[in-house]
Symmetry: C2
């Protein structure tokens, strides 16, 4: 019942084995739709908590990355989120006004307004991450440790080849930085 069964789709191979990525290859309908539904549910988890605070997903994204990359520059956040500074400004201002994020002048470069979470901000970021972690951990347990690593590799491989190294570096450096505390 809870068994994941994609066997039927797998059982019947395509009539013509498509060359990898060729223009004529069959669309990956299943993966396209799995990504859609998986992401829909994945981002849906924190919504209730956010709504009670008058926040949306935009606030979540900002808080998440500030929590993970404390002391990051505004410019870095803009690049990660790929939004304009005006869009960021709105949600960031709210997070600052309500005491979830603070901005400190850069020491070496005093033009910078480096971003930090407050304790309140960290607590919320953690709460939201835990909701998503519950879902992820359940999924990883279902598929087992080998498939878990495969899933991570697949997700990384979906990222733009250009930006991938940077993204993996960002994740890794955030992990290291957090461990130091």
């Amino acid at each position: 019942m809870a068994d994941i069964n994609l066997a039927a789709a797998k059982a019947r191979p395509p009539r013509l084995e498509p060359e990898a990525g060729a223009a004529g290859s069959e669309p990956q309908w299943d993966v396209i739709e799995l990504l859609f539904f998986a992401y829909r549910d994945f981002v849906g988890d924190p919504d209730d908590v956010l709504e009670k605070l008058g926040f949306g997903r935009a606030h979540h994204r900002v808080l998440h990355f500030v929590n993970r990359n404390r002391g990051m520059k505004v410019a870095d956040l803009l690049e990660i989120l790929r939004i304009t500074k005006q869009s960021l400004g709105r949600v960031l201002k709210q997070l600052v006004d309500e005491g979830y994020v603070i901005q400190k002048e850069g020491e070496s470069d005093r033009r910078q307004r480096l971003l930090y979470v407050t304790e309140k901000g960290e607590a919320l970021a953690l709460k939201l991450a835990q909701l998503q972690t519950t879902r992820i951990t359940r999924a990883l347990n279902e598929v087992g440790p080998e498939a878990s690593e495969a899933a991570r590799k697949f997700l990384a491989a979906i990222i733009d080849t250009d930006g991938r190294a940077g993204v993996l570096d960002l994740i890794e450096r955030a992990n290291v930085a957090r461990r130091r505390d």
Copy 2:
């Protein structure tokens, strides 16, 4: 260089082996962020094409599911997309007006306005799917066939346990229906 290296994060196991999904378990920061970046790039592919046509991602989602589930009811589409009929109405009307989608009265139930893609609509849906398929196929090739199946299982396992069977059924039935043509 193009090598996917998450080894560093894997090499150091957490100090306390967390019980699966327990409240105290460490957040799955890496998977959370991989999902974010992967999805960001995944949905970014079709944007350029859509923009030239005056469409957005909302149109893409509608066109995608109508193409995959021809003759579907409006109510089914609303449930899949989890939006209101008013939101759907706006984008659907544009797709119909511009000849990408047509609505036919249901035969058994004449209240229904069943949704179909036109040839033009099918062509666009296919074009957009091919863009995403290129990315997906590249990723699947990178990780290999076993990891590919693992990735599909993981994505399915991320979906709400309630809705999962329905989603997998939807995907499977669409596959079958398309093969019949």
